[in-house]
């Protein structure tokens, strides 16, 4: 485990999350999470279903706000940020890879990869397209750049999703079971790709996985049980 010398990419302190607050069915799913991830760190987040993995990932990804505790991204306390700042921070510093890839079916592979750039800059430009093409090249899909997601296989779609997550050179990549619906061979490929980019760009990665084989190959394993961090295995 590396010892961070600079501010960690993410830092969670006593973070809690509850749903249906103030109603009889109020449920707390995360009970005081302390976690930090340094630049270049490649961590697996594991735990049984319903342990709060996805919720934790969504909170770190700024898609949901925590109920209590503190979440800092790149040293900025997110509680003080406005909705617009949160959206901007999410777009510029976090790359998502979802379980079911979640590509936009109406757009070609290269357009999907460019989309975060289009959102950040307002429109695509030649530089963004060149960048997207080189990313697709890096994931081995240059020949399929102008195909729609429906024309690609599951593994290819997930690779496009990874290329998309890397488009704006994020400092943090969050992947929610990126290999969940792929065969072992393809899963290994995708995992290797993520690992490769992690080495190249020194971005921090937090990967939710059910596959102990893949978790073993991460720098660090964070195990979540019933909303608590159970510590490294």
């Amino acid at each position: 485990m590396s010892t961070p010398t600079i501010a960690p990419v993410i830092e969670l302190a006593g973070l809690t999350k509850a749903y249906n607050i103030g109603t009889p069915v109020e449920t707390e799913v995360l009970h005081g999470i302390d976690l930090s991830l340094a630049e270049g760190e490649f961590a697996a987040l594991i735990g049984p279903s319903g342990s709060g993995k996805s919720t934790l990932l969504n909170i770190i990804g700024l898609l949901e706000r925590p109920t209590g505790g503190r979440l800092s991204i790149g040293g900025r306390d997110t509680a003080r940020l406005s909705e617009a700042e949160i959206t901007q921070l999410r777009g510029r510093s976090i790359g998502f890879v979802f379980q079911f890839h979640h590509l936009l079916p109406a757009f070609t592979a290269v357009e999907n990869v460019m989309m975060p750039t289009i959102i950040a800059r307002g429109a695509a430009d030649d530089e963004a397209e060149a960048m997207a093409l080189s990313l697709l090249d890096a994931v081995g899909l240059k020949a399929h750049a102008y195909k729609k997601p429906s024309e690609l296989s599951g593994g290819q779609q997930q690779r496009v999703a990874i290329a998309r997550a890397l488009g704006l050179k994020p400092r943090l990549i969050l992947a929610d079971e990126p290999t969940g619906n792929l065969d072992t061979h393809t899963a290994d490929d995708i995992f290797a790709l993520l690992r490769e980019f992690n080495r190249q760009t020194r971005c921090a990665c937090l990967i939710v996985t059910h596959d102990p084989r893949l978790a073993e190959r991460c720098d660090r394993i964070v195990r979540l049980v019933d909303g608590h961090i159970a510590g490294p295995v």
Partner: protein, 406 residues
């Protein structure tokens, strides 16, 4: 260099293209709605213009007459029982008519002034006599009030000496042809032998039977109005401003000034009612089109839930999502108005070839004024935008996590 659309229009157009059937259906609905509105508006505008044109084809826009004579009490009516009899209105001249005519001609909005002397007479030929209205005019000036030259069936609209112009019905009744003689006799005992130099058909049998045009001096002497005129006929630039012009003239001269809008009050009321019902139909069509666009977009928001979530996760703000759906509404409206105008043009062509006047000419022209197309485009785009508002706000408010999970 490729065309690179900004984010919101890019996604909006892609969503519309992806929605194929839905997009086609809603475009068809908008097209139909716009076509109905444009078609109706153009048709009714044209028909109304024609009716007004026909009505005004045989009358002046504004007529100045002498004030009516009234009996006045010489003494206060307090304590006296009085019976005031209305006076019979004799034929009188407009006082100082040359000055009044000059004043009217200089008035803003007045394009032509023509002095007219008119009074009752009998047209006599052999044993037959018909009651007519003798019209003393200056043919040149009167042409600018009523386009007589367009109605001539024989000869020319010109009066000179004892040459006169009569209507086709009178000619038929008295068996008169061009250059035939005709005697007019007046109640005051005067009479004159006229020569018919022109026959008109103004499209109104009554007027075709009654109007006998002669020169101004001849009518003046026959009607005992030497140097005088019984009324001044005016043409105004904007026919619907006629009443305003009449009011101003009345204020300036103190004479009786009537506009065609007063003399044809019923026609005007009918036209207004037609306009109101047309507006009612148009409003309902607009509402139906708006509901159509809104309902399709509501469905689209639900279908695109996941995509909205992905876009939000990639940093798209709420307002960007809002824009995507507003643009879709506006695009449907704008494109629908384009197709709708084309359809309306086709309809106008088809119907103008089906519906014809008694004389076989088309009832209305198959033309579409650009201002109606512009109006339709503007209204449809705004309606599209407005109807997209609710779905767009729903999309913008969507929780990205829920959206992605669903």
């Amino acid at each position: 260099m490729k065309l690179r659309l900004p984010f919101a229009p890019l996604v909006a157009l892609r969503f519309l293209r992806e929605g194929r059937m839905q997009t086609l259906l809603i475009l068809a609905g908008t097209t139909g709605g716009v076509a109905v509105i444009v078609f109706l508006t153009q048709l009714i505008t044209q028909l109304q213009a024609q009716i007004v044109d026909r009505v005004l084809g045989s009358q002046a826009h504004v007529v100045i007459r002498p004030t009516e004579e009234a009996n006045r009490r010489a003494i206060d009516d307090q304590g006296f029982a009085t019976l005031v009899e209305p006076r019979a209105q004799r034929l009188r001249s407009v006082d100082q008519w040359e000055n009044i005519a000059r004043l009217a001609a200089d008035m803003e909005g007045v394009t032509a002034v023509s002095p007219v002397v008119t009074g009752p007479a009998f047209a006599v030929r052999g044993q037959a006599n018909k009651s007519v209205a003798l019209m003393g005019v200056d043919a040149e000036r009167y042409r600018r009030i009523v386009r007589m030259e367009e109605y001539m069936v024989a000869g020319r609209f010109a009066v000179d000496g004892t040459r006169a112009v009569i209507g086709s019905e009178l000619a038929k009744d008295l068996g008169i042809r061009l250059e035939d003689k005709l005697r007019v006799a007046l109640p005051n005992g005067r009479d004159e032998q006229l020569q018919v130099g022109g026959i008109f058909d103004i499209g109104n049998k009554d007027l075709n039977r009654r109007w006998v045009f002669v020169t101004l001096p001849l009518a003046q002497s026959l009607l005992d109005l030497p140097g005088g005129v019984s009324n001044l006929d005016l043409t105004v630039a904007d026919i619907f401003e006629a009443q305003a012009v009449a009011d101003r003239l009345k204020g300036a001269t103190g004479l009786t000034v009537d506009s065609w809008m007063q003399t044809n009050a019923q026609l005007l009321a009918a036209l207004r009612n037609q306009t109101v019902s047309n507006n009612l139909i148009r409003s309902f069509v607009v509402i139906i089109v708006a509901l159509g666009i809104a309902s399709v977009l509501v469905v689209s928001v639900v279908q695109k839930q996941k995509e909205i979530g992905i876009l939000r996760a990639m940093g798209a703000s709420r307002s960007m999502i809002l824009q995507i759906f507003l643009i879709q509404g506006a695009v449907v409206g704008a494109v629908g108005s384009l197709f709708g105008s084309l359809l309306a043009f086709t309809l106008l062509n088809v119907f103008s070839s089906i519906y014809r006047n008694a004389d076989g000419s088309p009832l209305f022209a198959a033309e579409l004024e650009p201002r109606f197309i512009l109006m339709a485009a503007l209204v449809a785009t705004l309606v599209g935008l407005a109807s997209a508002l609710i779905p767009a706000r729903r999309a913008a408010r969507m929780d990205p996590v829920q959206a992605i999970r669903s």
